[in-house]
């Protein structure tokens, strides 16, 4: 039971810290960085659901992030949609695209899947970049509206936007937590372990992989929409492979297939990059090898290390029955 309360304390502590963060810093720039980090976390949770829990590494993730952002941008800027209708519609568009692409992409496995999605991601990027008539090409899309107020609640200040994104992040984490710690999540994990075994246990791998893929694109889409209305300018670069690699780094360093990994990895790397400003362009000099070292020495990232350490500490206590993937 002690471990349970510990975990709850950590979660509550983190939420409190995030809530009072704007009052601690009183610095708009830090607030900006943090808000952006929350947005990346949402995207990383999507990637983690598919790669970490279902075993399929998609390298088209930034592509779906960009589809979400551009769908929102085009709906508001070019199609004259209001903020909220576009806010709801854009993730749906992303998910629909995810469904169509997933239907085909998931016929491939392992390396083929990674290469296939790599190419799909690149095609998405190229289309955004070259289709100037629609997307504005390299000039990008400007004038995307900031979140409009909900009744008396205005979302125009940096603090309001910070809380807005934070609330959505919490919702995303809650939904992911529910999925992972349910029969659906167990089904995904069974597929990750062995598709043959899952099949012979009567699990429709085709259906469940598609669910996981579509969910991952949905979360990428939400993150894209938030990015668009937070930064209010988008260019083709957000669909670039480098963004996929960034998200991948956050996930691997934090801990692939763990609940807390996306938060830990994203926070750590975003803040490290901030403090290593002089390294900005060369940050991959450190994070590249870090990625490789993590995979070799701690395949489940920092969260995995922490879980291992706390498991050792509480070994003498009788472990509680059942819990999929109980991680820090």
């Amino acid at each position: 039971m002690a471990a349970f309360f510990n975990k709850r304390n950590i979660v509550v502590g983190f939420i409190l810290l995030a809530v009072i963060f704007p009052f601690i810093t009183r610095n708009d720039y830090f607030l900006h960085v943090m808000t952006l980090a929350f947005i990346w976390m949402i995207a990383v949770y999507g990637l983690n659901l598919l790669a970490g829990y279902t075993g399929y590494l998609s390298l088209a993730h930034a592509g779906f992030f960009a589809i979400g952002a551009y769908a929102f941008g085009l709906l508001t800027v070019k199609a004259g949609f209001g903020f909220w209708p576009a806010f709801l519609l854009a993730p749906i568009i992303t998910t629909a695209m995810g469904f169509l692409i997933g239907l085909i992409a998931l016929r491939t496995k392992e390396h083929f899947f990674a290469i296939y999605t790599l190419c799909v991601g690149y095609i998405i990027y190229l289309v955004i970049d070259k289709w100037e008539g629609l997307t504005g090409g390299v000039r990008g899309l400007i004038g995307i509206p900031a979140p409009s107020s909900i009744g008396p609640l205005t979302l125009s200040t940096p603090i309001a936007q910070y809380y807005f994104v934070f609330v959505i992040l919490l919702l995303v984490i809650f939904v992911i937590y529910r999925i992972i710690h349910s029969l659906t999540g167990r089904t995904f994990i069974a597929i990750r372990n062995s598709e043959e075994l899952a099949l012979s246990l009567g699990i429709s791998t085709t259906k469940n992989k598609l669910i996981s893929f579509v969910l991952s694109t949905f979360f990428a889409g939400i993150a894209g929409v938030l990015y668009a209305c937070f930064i209010r300018f988008i260019g083709p670069d957000i669909g670039n492979l480098n963004i996929t690699f960034d998200l991948l780094t956050y996930m691997i360093v934090g801990g692939i297939g763990t609940m807390s990994g996306p938060i830990v990895g994203t926070l750590l790397i975003v803040w490290l990059s901030q403090n290593l400003q002089f390294l900005q362009d060369y940050r991959m000099l450190i994070f590249g090898p870090l990625l490789t070292l993590m995979v070799i020495f701690s395949p489940r990232g920092i969260s995995g290390l922490f879980a291992l350490w706390s498991a050792k500490r509480t070994r003498k206590l009788k472990p509680k029955t059942s819990n999929v993937e109980e991680q820090a």
Partner: protein, 287 residues
């Protein structure tokens, strides 16, 4: 007609480079079942090393290439030892992520050393010659000839030498090769060496007609993956054939469809192929 012939020759040039890069990728895949995402970074490093040796040491283009291919071969071996060897019992996702980590590192490293700017590589073979009625630069002719010679040498090495035979044996059956006493470690290192050499050779040959920059490996590696999927992962003739198929379809597509979207052609091709045959065109076995 002239335009077509010219484009066909261009296709032959690009295809030669693609084939070289794809060959290295397919060899490594065939033996270790690793899709080496860092292969494109080796390609880029190869171009930079040749460039640096030429500009700072003033060595001849061909000598610079020779130094560069050996250096990149060594880097490739180092990568096998430090990264892929420790991961040999890991999951496919770990392989891919580790390779991506190396790719990010090498690109960042290149940017640190050589800057993000585009560099122009000089060649002593810039003269224009008349080749069966086509006006081509000597450099392009050299690309084709060198590539073909390299492929023939590789073929002879794999088919006619004992060491080459061990590579083939290991590609066919890894455990079996280990059981009959083949030193699988050595074979893995050798394969990575050859793979690095081919990547650096391809890059050094094509750089004078393209440009040298840190992310120059991106498109090439993506296309190399397309090629080895078309040609069958691990298949050597498939990589060569696939390289030329992509080379020709790109140069012709650029002329007759749109040069803006010529890069998309190969990816679209791949998407279509994998859509129809999820295990690649020449996959063996079947469920």
């Amino acid at each position: 007609m002239d335009v077509l012939l010219q484009q066909l020759f261009n296709g032959l040039t690009i295809g030669s480079v693609y084939s070289l890069v794809a060959l290295g990728l397919t060899l490594v895949y065939g033996i270790l079942h690793i899709p080496n995402f860092a292969h494109g970074a080796l390609y880029m490093v190869g171009a930079y090393i040749t460039y640096t040796i030429m500009t700072s040491l003033g060595l001849h283009y061909l000598l610079s290439i020779l130094t560069s291919i050996i250096a990149v071969g060594m880097i490739s071996v180092l990568m096998e030892r430090l990264v892929f060897h420790p991961l040999k019992d890991s999951t496919p996702i770990q392989h891919k992520v580790a390779a991506i980590g190396m790719l990010l590192f090498l690109e960042s490293f290149a940017q640190l050393i050589w800057g993000a700017d585009y560099q122009q590589m000089e060649t002593p073979f810039g003269q224009v010659i008349d080749f069966f009625g086509l006006t081509v630069t000597m450099q392009r002719l050299i690309i084709v000839i060198t590539a073909v010679v390299a492929m023939i040498l590789l073929y002879l090495f794999l088919k006619k030498t004992f060491t080459g035979a061990t590579i083939i044996a290991m590609a066919q059956n890894r455990e079996g090769a280990h059981l009959v006493g083949i030193n699988t470690n050595k074979v893995a290192m050798l394969t990575f060496f050859i793979s690095g050499v081919l990547a650096a050779l391809g890059a050094s040959l094509t750089s004078p007609i393209n440009l040298v920059f840190p992310s120059m490996g991106h498109l090439v590696i993506l296309k190399a993956f397309v090629i080895i999927i078309i040609g069958g992962m691990g298949s050597i003739p498939g990589a060569i054939l696939g390289g030329y198929i992509i080379g020709f379809s790109e140069s012709i597509g650029a002329t007759y469809i749109s040069s803006d979207y010529s890069d998309i052609i190969s990816f679209a091709l791949l998407v279509i192929i994998l859509t129809i045959k999820p295990q690649g065109i020449f996959s063996k076995g079947g469920v």
